[in-house]
């Protein structure tokens, strides 16, 4: 289990003083699943800092955190994805040995072939989650991804941190 107490002292002090409540979602915003899951189009969103080999790397030097994202095509072979998240708070070897640990595309392909979900969307989205100053994420990047998912007529999104 992860709690603040598992984190290094430096990270723990940061997390305890960070004003998370500033970003509380109130009142709760939510959408009802419009159709049964086995008829739904599903997309994945990860903050594991994944990219395809031909995409540019995330900017690990930006103090506020790089809020950009990479579109991951649904046809990608997961073993080709590159993980270059800047955080030192997690074990990179585990996710590099199996990308599905933080971006379960192969698992969702299995759910699609078993008819548990209707279909996978033609693209998914990857961010590098260490965004300490999330203003551009909130104002620009997140709405842009949300619009793209709506244009694709996605019904449900599964999100994973790392």
């Amino acid at each position: 289990m992860s709690t603040y107490d598992d984190l290094s002292l430096h990270v723990r002090l940061f997390m305890k003083s960070y004003p998370f409540s500033r970003y509380a979602i109130e009142p709760t915003l939510w959408a009802r699943l419009a159709k049964p899951l086995d008829k739904s189009r599903v997309a994945l969103v990860t903050t594991a800092g994944l990219r395809t080999p031909d995409q540019g790397d995330f900017d690990r030097s930006d103090k506020r955190g790089d809020p950009s994202f990479r579109e991951i095509p649904n046809t990608i072979e997961t073993r080709l994805l590159v993980e270059s998240h800047r955080s030192y708070s997690f074990d990179h070897e585990a996710v590099r040995s199996d990308i599905n640990l933080a971006f379960p595309l192969d698992r969702f392909r299995e759910l699609e072939s078993r008819g548990v979900i209707g279909a996978l969307n033609h693209r998914h989205f990857s961010f590098m989650g260490s965004i300490v100053g999330p203003r551009r994420l909130i104002d620009e990047m997140a709405p842009q991804v949300a619009r793209s998912l709506a244009e694709d007529r996605v019904d449900a999104v599964f999100l994973t941190p790392v």
Binding site: Y4, A31, V45, A102, G129, P134, V154, V157
Partner: protein, 81 residues
């Protein structure tokens, strides 16, 4: 900060009319930001779906999370057991 980023993305996507569910590795963060549906998992940072190369476990976690999608008693922060 991954956890906050997930929550903020989740809010934007729900605002666009799309139902979402997320995995939470840090209850302290998710319980404050309150995205509509999250499954808190008892694993270390870096292991949101439990273990690498363990498809059965990954499927169990995904199934538990997808089960929250049809619920409307939001916000939900369910614990995976």
């Amino acid at each position: 900060m991954c956890q906050q980023t997930v929550c903020l993305l989740q809010a934007a996507i729900e605002r666009a009319g799309i139902a979402t569910v997320s995995i939470s590795l840090l209850r302290e963060v998710t319980s404050v930001i309150k995205p509509p549906r999250a499954l808190f998992v008892p694993f270390p940072m870096g292991y949101p779906l439990g273990a690498p190369n363990d498809a059965p476990l990954q499927h169990q976690i995904i199934a538990a999370a997808l089960g929250l999608l049809e619920r409307d008693d939001v916000p939900i922060l369910e614990e995976y057991r």
